[in-house]
């Protein structure tokens, strides 16, 4: 037992120090920084909540935070909604011997660098891009469609979807799809198929059996997918910087601007802490809600 404990501690030690050094340490520094203030070229180390007051009071920060949550929420929703049918198909309708091939194919986008994929979207969404070329070639009346559907870039007629919040949503949804498919697939795989037969046997149709059995049992996977997509997209910095334009900037871009552009590290730290807290609250709420809904005890 003693020996076991020692071995366990020995094994955990390197990653533990690594985590303290590179995770907990910087995190603590960020929290400490957030209670300081920037005094032109020097940092005023008197503890104060002035930054927090400003972050919550200034409409710019509120707007960017709101937009960040809106974009991330939309990306999460779209990604998980699109991922579920894929995962369901692979789990329920693909021959067992071909499932791993399907999963392998799903991960193919990871073979190219994320930056390359962003640039691909630029090519597709740009003013002279693939999408616009096709739309103008088949003579889609952009303004009319835009007015009818409320899609902003179409309403403006001559512009392109690139450099907008829509472009960020599109690019992120595409990038995170495999992350959402895999946990949902795993949850669906774990469902004993005789449970679905039992539901049919007890009087449910295929659709109601899905709602009463498949969906609640897939809930852990869906929650995992929601969080896996939502948490990193809130903090995403590259995508909005590349395809977001002024209307698609997110909180991470603002944090970067505070640290580097405006030389206001304490304010950047404050925004980072706030973003972290909001993500924590939303993540916990999601888990709690899913547990309530699916009746898992």
């Amino acid at each position: 037992m003693q020996q076991e404990t020692k071995r366990g501690l020995g094994l955990i030690a390197p990653p533990f120090f690594y985590a303290v050094l590179l995770m907990a340490g910087p995190l603590l520094a960020i929290v400490v920084f957030s209670f300081w203030t920037q005094d032109y070229l020097t940092v005023d180390r008197t503890p104060t909540i002035a930054n927090y007051v400003e972050a919550f009071g200034d409409p710019i920060y509120r707007a960017i935070m709101g937009r960040t949550l809106w974009i991330s929420g939309l990306v999460t929703l779209i990604t998980v909604l699109l991922a579920f049918p894929v995962a369901y198909f692979v789990s329920f309708h693909v021959d067992p011997s071909r499932k791993s091939l399907w999963l392998f194919l799903i991960t193919i986008p990871f073979w190219t660098s994320y930056l390359l994929r962003i640039f691909l979207w630029k090519v597709i969404l740009g003013y002279n891009g693939v999408l616009n070329s096709i739309l103008s070639y088949i003579n889609v009346p952009l303004e009319a469609v835009g007015n009818a559907t409320g899609i902003l870039w179409m309403q403006e007629g001559l512009s392109a979807p690139l450099y907008s919040a829509s472009a960020v949503v599109l690019t992120l949804s595409h990038a995170f799809a495999p992350f959402a498919i895999l946990p949902i697939f795993v949850a669906l795989e774990k469902i004993d198929r005789s449970l679905l037969e039992a539901a049919r046997d007890l009087g449910e149709t295929a659709v109601t059996a899905f709602i009463r059995v498949t969906l609640p049992l897939a809930a852990p996977g869906i929650v995992a997918a929601l969080l896996i997509v939502f948490i990193p997209t809130v903090g995403d910095y590259v995508t909005p910087a590349q395809v977001g334009g002024p209307g698609g900037l997110m909180i991470a871009n603002m944090i970067q601007t505070q640290f580097l552009g405006l030389n206001n590290a304490p304010m950047g730290a404050t925004l980072a802490v706030i973003a972290m807290l909001i993500v924590t609250v939303i993540a916990l709420a999601t888990v709690w809600l899913a547990r309530r809904l699916s009746g898992v005890r």
């Binding site: 539901a199 046997d201 009087g203 149709t205």
Partner: protein, 357 residues
């Protein structure tokens, strides 16, 4: 009146012919078993009745309604699955109430009463609030039973329900299932590969091999009058000896000659065939013991002591393979060494002559 009538059921999986023309009538209130080795098609047939498998041809009638092609949720059948298929995200009571949702004539109170009655019936009263995945194997099985029986189906289908339980629990559940079936009066169809289970529980048994029904009979008839060597081998133990039929005379290796009319005979033509007898129908004699019956002699090749029983393997004179004789150890037992000469008393009435394969 027949509750279930299966006519000419054929089932193909690609090239594989799983069910080869099954005709079966099952009466209302009957405890019917489908017995056979794995891969014989018994589970497929049960799933055909439940509606989980389409038939390639043939028809399924339940209470005079054609159910061929009707989906499982619209059939008056409920199933107890081999894995029990207890919903892990629901409590015991929610599991039992699962199928009652469709019953719009019931209010919450009536539903609760039905659920409690059903749990009471299977001996799980007070378990309603428990999480389903915190139950033992035996308890899960009871929940599965309650969940099916609470809907009062016309037919309860049981797919190897006892195979996952240990021996003691299995024997207890066998008795409970019989009691339950008598109590509710619902037709039970049990699928099992365990011949003992089928003999203990069923009113009638259909023995299946290779997608075909080999014999349908009550337990005792099945044991005493198996129609083929294969059925005889599958149900209990039977000793086989080569035999020759010539007119009214039968010559059985090791036993001697007898009249054809004295035996249970399925041999229709003269020639070589197989004779069989059950281990308990012959008696090994104590040295010096006298008997009225006929006597065959041989050599003891193995003695296996089971406490209440002793099995003796005896190689009869003129035979190569030993026959097995079982003796109840009521007044002690003949103590015989391996290799010792043995005499066994037998009667032609216990001998079955099988038709040539």
């Amino acid at each position: 009146m027949n509750l279930i009538e299966l006519r000419g059921i054929q089932k193909y999986y690609g090239d594989y012919h799983a069910l080869r023309g099954i005709d079966l009538d099952i009466a209302e209130g009957e405890f019917f078993s489908l017995l056979g080795p794995s891969g014989c098609g018994k589970t497929t047939l049960l799933r055909v009745v439940a509606g989980f498998e389409d038939v390639s041809s043939g028809s399924v009638m339940i209470s005079n309604k054609d159910m061929t092609g009707v989906s499982p949720n619209k059939r008056p059948t409920n199933m107890v699955f081999q894995s029990y298929a207890i919903f892990p995200h629901l409590s015991v009571a929610q599991n039992v109430a699962f199928g009652l949702r469709k019953r719009s004539d019931l209010n919450a109170q009536a539903r609760m009463t039905l659920v409690e009655d059903a749990l009471d019936m299977v001996g799980l009263d007070g378990y309603g609030a428990r999480a389903a995945n915190a139950l033992s194997g035996g308890q899960r099985q009871r929940v599965a039973l309650a969940r099916a029986l609470v809907l009062r189906p016309k037919v309860l289908l049981l797919d190897e329900p006892l195979s996952a339980l240990d021996k003691k629990m299995r024997e207890q559940m066998q008795v409970e299932l019989i009691r339950l079936q008598r109590q509710v009066g619902i037709t039970f169809i049990l699928v099992t590969h365990d011949q003992e289970e089928a003999l203990v529980m069923s009113d009638r048994i259909a023995v299946m091999f290779d997608g075909e029904v080999a014999q349908i009979a009550e337990a005792e008839d099945l044991y005493r009058k198996p129609v083929s060597r294969r059925v005889a081998e599958f149900i209990g133990t039977m000793n086989f000896l080569p035999a020759t039929v010539a007119g009214e005379k039968v010559e059985v290796a090791g036993l001697g000659h007898m009249e054809l009319s004295d035996t249970q005979s399925m041999a229709t033509t003269d020639g070589d065939t197989m004779a069989g007898f059950r281990p308990e129908t012959a008696t090994l004699l104590f040295p010096g013991q006298k008997t009225e019956g006929r006597i065959a002699s041989g050599t003891v090749s193995e003695v296996v002591y089971y406490g209440d029983m002793t099995y003796y393997d005896v190689t009869l004179d003129g035979c190569e393979r030993p026959v097995r004789i079982s003796m109840r150890n009521v007044f002690g037992r003949p103590v015989l060494d391996i290799g010792a000469p043995a005499r066994l008393a037998w009667s032609p009435g216990a001998v079955t002559l099988f038709a040539r394969a």
